[in-house]
């Protein structure tokens, strides 16, 4: 089947070439420059840069922060989507807007707000100082800022999926005697699993890659409060470009894995939807 625009040879070729050039310059070249910059001085230097103590500490902190922030926002996302998608109540659309709010806020402000709360000059700063707690320029501040910037990711993927599913299946499960937990595990979860996975993948990528918000609250203490992106900045500003690109290549790899997983989840979700449609059509025929 020919679509409009197809079959007209040279304008089509021109548009494809223009798109490939745009994608090449804007997307492929930045990726290539990171990967070639990382191994510019050979693989030995590359592995040394990654194995260096501060780099390993940064990697560990990045993994720790994501391991706290992602599960918390996952639980929040499921709970928030449940009440927003399955129930009607006044202020529902306002609630959705408020959940989206962190996406609209500049990363720098996402860090600033926690400095205003918990910093030395902040509201709780005096009390925290007296009791020897440190949040700002320490790991808890980094975790809080990361939770803030990744706050909406799971919820905003799940709300439309749950809304589309409706309430009939869950209601049927309950009327057949399932407990609330059984209903959730056997009916809700299988229906939302791809949306959930999609949200978690995006949430994790942002949690591991966040720069601005974390930069404001971190204090940049090498080996202690540096995440991988902050470590990249420090190395780069010290004109240690090879090491900066070596560490950056880890984050670029994370981005590529994220994109691959995302495409895979999209494809799986699409094929499952089609199978469901075919199955329903078969039932109708019978």
């Amino acid at each position: 089947m020919k679509r409009y625009g197809e079959g007209r040879q040279w304008p089509q070729t021109l548009l494809i070439v223009a798109a490939l050039v745009a994608a090449g310059v804007l997307l492929v070249l930045p990726l290539l420059v990171v990967l070639t910059g990382a191994v510019a001085k050979g693989w030995t230097v590359y592995f040394a840069a990654i194995h260096e103590r501060a780099a390993l500490a940064a990697l560990q902190l990045t993994l720790t922060v994501a391991a706290i922030a992602v599960p918390l926002n996952l639980v929040f996302g499921v709970v928030a989507a449940w009440c927003i998608a399955k129930f009607e109540f006044p202020g529902r659309s306002a609630l959705i807007t408020l959940i989206d709010l962190p996406l609209a806020v500049s990363p720098v402000i996402s860090g600033l707000i926690y400095v205003l709360l918990f910093g030395a000059q902040g509201v709780f700063g005096g009390w925290l100082g007296e009791h020897g707690f440190r949040i700002i320029f320490a790991v808890p501040g980094i975790v809080l800022a990361t939770i803030f910037v990744t706050f909406p990711f799971v919820a905003r993927e799940l709300i439309p999926v749950m809304q589309q599913q409706g309430r009939e299946y869950e209601e049927a499960a309950l009327s057949l005697g399932a407990s609330g937990w059984q209903m959730f595990r056997r009916v809700t979860l299988p229906n939302i699993k791809w949306g959930l996975l999609y949200g978690v993948i995006l949430c994790n990528a942002r949690a591991m890659g966040e720069f601005g918000a974390v930069s404001v609250v971190s204090g940049h203490i090498r080996g202690k409060t540096n995440t991988l992106p902050l470590h990249v900045e420090i190395l780069y500003n010290e004109y240690n470009h090879t090491a900066a690109f070596a560490v950056a290549s880890l984050l670029a790899l994370l981005a590529l894995i994220t994109l691959a997983l995302k495409s895979w989840v999209e494809a799986r979700a699409r094929s499952e939807r089609q199978t469901a449609i075919i199955a329903r059509a078969d039932e109708d025929l019978l």
Partner: protein, 286 residues
């Protein structure tokens, strides 16, 4: 906690039918977590601004340096979003209409700017467009310097904003009624006329939404910009960087005042985008 408890007890009356469990608990948890992580910290920006008199506030946000930072942030985001509309439309068009080798890879790479940590994007773009970089060395003889100039800011914002336009326009282009376009062609319209009179009006709402999303992202962007911008006060200093600089100088009041202006702008943008998106969704329904 009493306002939440109050809201919960009246909330139970809103339930449409008493069918599904967990409304009160899920709404309560959602409001609690939202309040704790997002609303209370954001309210600090407003509260801390009250430490300043109106006169002081106006002086802080209208100093020449602050005004030029606003101009650069909003101006660069505006130009970048406009470029994104053109490049994004080209990419969305080619991906949704034509078949060519590498199409799946390009389609997956469109989301790279979302998946790639901004600091990595920042050092990659700077290295590419530096006077000795892969692209910079060819642009310099032409008199175009991108890195360390305001042009670099626009380039970084084009990079981070690109997926927003492509991913908003792409589904609309795919769902468009080909019959309408083919009818226009068979009635003797040229492809260009068909595009301008039939296709463009259909995708215009999506283009505007994508523009607004890219603009909102660009205004607050920090990580990808600070490496390539050069960060000269009055010339290439963006507002988020000025906020960070003032924080580092312990000028909390100045940083908070600037943050409040940016917050109001992003909240207004968020409301506008929600409005645009609900219009877009309403159009998509048959």
């Amino acid at each position: 906690m009493s306002p939440t408890a109050l809201r919960l007890s009246s909330a139970s009356r809103w339930r449409v039918t008493g069918s599904l469990p967990g409304f009160g608990a899920s709404l309560g948890f959602t409001l609690f977590y939202l309040g704790l992580i997002v609303l209370m910290p954001l309210a600090m920006v407003v509260l801390r601004t009250f430490d300043l008199s109106w006169f002081e506030f106006v002086a802080k946000v209208s100093s020449p340096r602050a005004l030029s930072a606003f101009k650069i942030s909003f101006g660069a985001a505006l130009i970048a979003a406009a470029i994104n509309v053109l490049v994004g439309l080209l990419l969305a068009w080619v991906i949704s209409r034509y078949r060519f080798p590498g199409k799946k890879i390009i389609d997956a790479l469109i989301d790279l700017p979302i998946a790639l940590p901004t600091a990595v994007a920042g050092i990659a773009l700077t290295t590419l467009y530096a006077p000795k970089g892969w692209l910079g060395q060819w642009l310099l003889p032409l008199g175009i310097q991108v890195a360390f100039t305001p042009l670099g800011i626009v380039l970084a914002l084009v990079f981070v904003g690109l997926p927003f336009v492509v991913r908003t326009v792409q589904p609309v282009l795919q769902d468009i009624e080909h019959e309408t376009e083919e009818a226009a062609i068979s009635l003797g319209a040229s492809p260009v006329q068909t595009f301008l009179r039939v296709t463009l009006p259909t995708i215009a709402p999506a283009l505007i939404t994508g523009f607004a999303l890219a603009f909102a992202r660009g205004v607050g962007e920090y990580g990808s910009v600070i490496f390539i911008a050069g960060n000269m006060p009055m010339i290439s200093e963006i507002t988020p960087l000025l906020i960070v600089t003032q924080l580092e100088q312990y000028d909390y009041a100045g940083a908070t005042a600037l943050a409040l202006v940016m917050l109001i702008a992003s909240f207004a943008l968020l409301l506008l985008i929600n409005l645009l998106q609900s219009r877009l969704a309403a159009r998509g329904q048959p």
